[in-house]
Assembly symmetry: C2
């Protein structure tokens, strides 16, 4: 019943985040690390005349968040240890480094440690005269409260908040307007995921949870925390039906509504399988009389080496479409004009 | 010693390729399937006045090759069954669909079935008046002959051939010039890979080869075929040293030579681990007095759900740099101006 390998391409487990960030900034000219910090910022941060957009959280979800730093998305991303919140000091340094005087929006996934540390960091930065606003993403429709949250968890929908807020800030909008569009995306997005295997953290070196060779977990969290139910493994189409129906129940969209969809890989899933899920998802969108404006397929919000996927659906209006379609140039997402 | 999960996000094993292609063309407006064929082409193929660039091979290497169809790279990609060559008929249909009268270059990875079927397809198309040239990529420095090849295998370096030939064709160059730059890349690129786990094919549903929890395979092929040696699992830096030294021995570059590098994931490896490998690779490039012009990190040439990576190094001159830096807009690679 060992359903995953313990082997990893790492050196010392406690060096994973530091070495990963070095390899990331080496590969991408647009990124740099803050001195002595596990924080990645745009090479030109702070960008004069622009609201700063920052995010962060535990590592292990790559390309989230560092991979979304760049033109049109984030100005900075803080990387905590694997599945561990960044510290308030680290977050405050990031906020300071990304403020050009126009204020900073922190996009926070709803986990207790993240929200608390971002709160503290915001208060610290405000004492230094930085205007800081925070939005909390809670798009996971699977569970109301969870192991690490009051309320719902923040998962892959977060990337759409980065994109929309980043585009609005790039237009030169003021902080309150950037907050408004971030909240608008949060109000219109839902996600649910499934795990075929457990992730294996570098520190522990063994599966975070046990899942039999014939079982999958529906509604899984991105840290391997429990979902809604453990069921027999099913064909991809049935899994897609299950996830999609849960997300649609939550969103409660009108017939003919326009949406964008994401099939997100959990880190260990081949792209071919994500496309198979996307095929069924698009059939369902048609069956439910929804109009798909855009669809993404790939690894956006992962859970180390976990096999599985999540499905995100976001209702879009003209404003959200314009923001999501605006140019972006980051390691994890490129949108061309 | 079960080092991988047999669970997959699929429906029937024999529908994997067909369903994957449907999900892929749904997600990307720039792609369409040829009627009744497991072939993906640019939506506007054949492109008037441009040499067509095509590739193909067994499936299971996504985003290769369909993910590289688009502006500035491929005009068409044929998808065989998993790890199985496309048929000559399928390849001929693709060649015909991508010829606007300027001729077609087929970029073929060196596997016996692929080379033979592309040869036959080329002959068939030439009888219909299409000018067809073929280049064979054999960048894998690990083994001279292998399970499926006479001579070396074609692996991740193929993507650079797609890119350079695609850029040259987009400039409006004639077929002989496109062939010349493709051959130039092939002459200057080397790759070597490692597997931490075996891939699991949908049909077989169990590991293609057995690898102990404390072992890795160096010089692995992208179908799980044997490499150079099986060794004890090592830290990422040592693995990177081993792969890099083998590639550099083969390329035999002058001090100060300019190169581009790829750290390629095998499908089941988290991005964080690829960055850790890239960190060490860049240190080595510096140690060996090589100048790194560009570096890519991600999944380009995968082997289903295999954990592991490959390292590609390509010597670049002004011409190759210009071609690799030219704009491209495909699902698997976007290069902006």
């Amino acid at each position: 019943m060992v359903a995953c390998s313990m082997k990893k391409l790492i050196n010392e487990p406690d060096a994973v985040v530091d070495e990963m960030l070095d390899g990331m900034v080496a590969a991408h000219d647009g990124l740099r690390r803050l001195d002595g910090q596990e924080v990645v910022v745009r090479h030109d941060a702070p960008v004069e005349g622009k609201v700063g957009i920052v995010s962060g959280g535990g590592s292990g979800h790559e390309p989230t968040h560092g991979g979304f730093v760049g033109d049109g998305m984030l100005d900075g991303a803080a990387a905590g240890e694997i599945f561990t919140s960044p510290t308030a000091d680290q977050l405050e340094e990031m906020v300071q480094a990304c403020d050009s005087g126009e204020g900073v929006l922190a996009v926070v996934k709803n986990y207790e440690g993240d929200v608390m540390n971002f709160d503290t960091a915001g208060e610290m930065a405000e004492m230094d005269g930085v205007e800081v606003e925070q939005v909390v993403v809670d798009d996971d429709v699977a569970v109301e409260d969870s192991l690490y949250t009051s309320g719902r968890r923040g998962v892959c929908g977060t990337i759409l908040v980065h994109k929309a807020a980043g585009a609005k800030a790039a237009e030169g909008a003021e902080l309150s307007e950037v907050v408004r569009v971030a909240e608008k995306v949060i109000d219109n997005v839902g996600t649910m995921g499934t795990a075929l295997t457990s992730c294996v953290t570098p520190e522990k070196g063994e599966p975070t949870f046990d899942l039999g060779e014939d079982e999958i977990e529906l509604g899984i969290g991105i840290h391997g925390e429990p979902g809604v139910e453990r069921v027999d493994h099913m064909p991809a189409d049935e899994i897609t039906d299950e996830l999609t129906e849960n997300v649609l129940d939550d969103l409660d969209l009108d017939d003919g509504a326009e949406v964008m969809t994401i099939v997100n890989g959990m880190g260990g899933t081949p792209l071919s399988e994500l496309y198979i899920v996307n095929r069924r998802l698009q059939q369902l969108m048609d069956d439910y009389d929804l109009t798909v404006w855009d669809q993404w397929v790939g690894d956006y919000m992962t859970s180390l080496d976990m096999m599985g996927c999540s499905i995100t659906i976001c209702a879009v209006d003209e404003e959200i479409k314009e923001l999501l379609a605006a140019p972006a140039d980051t390691p994890g997402l490129t949108v061309t004009e």
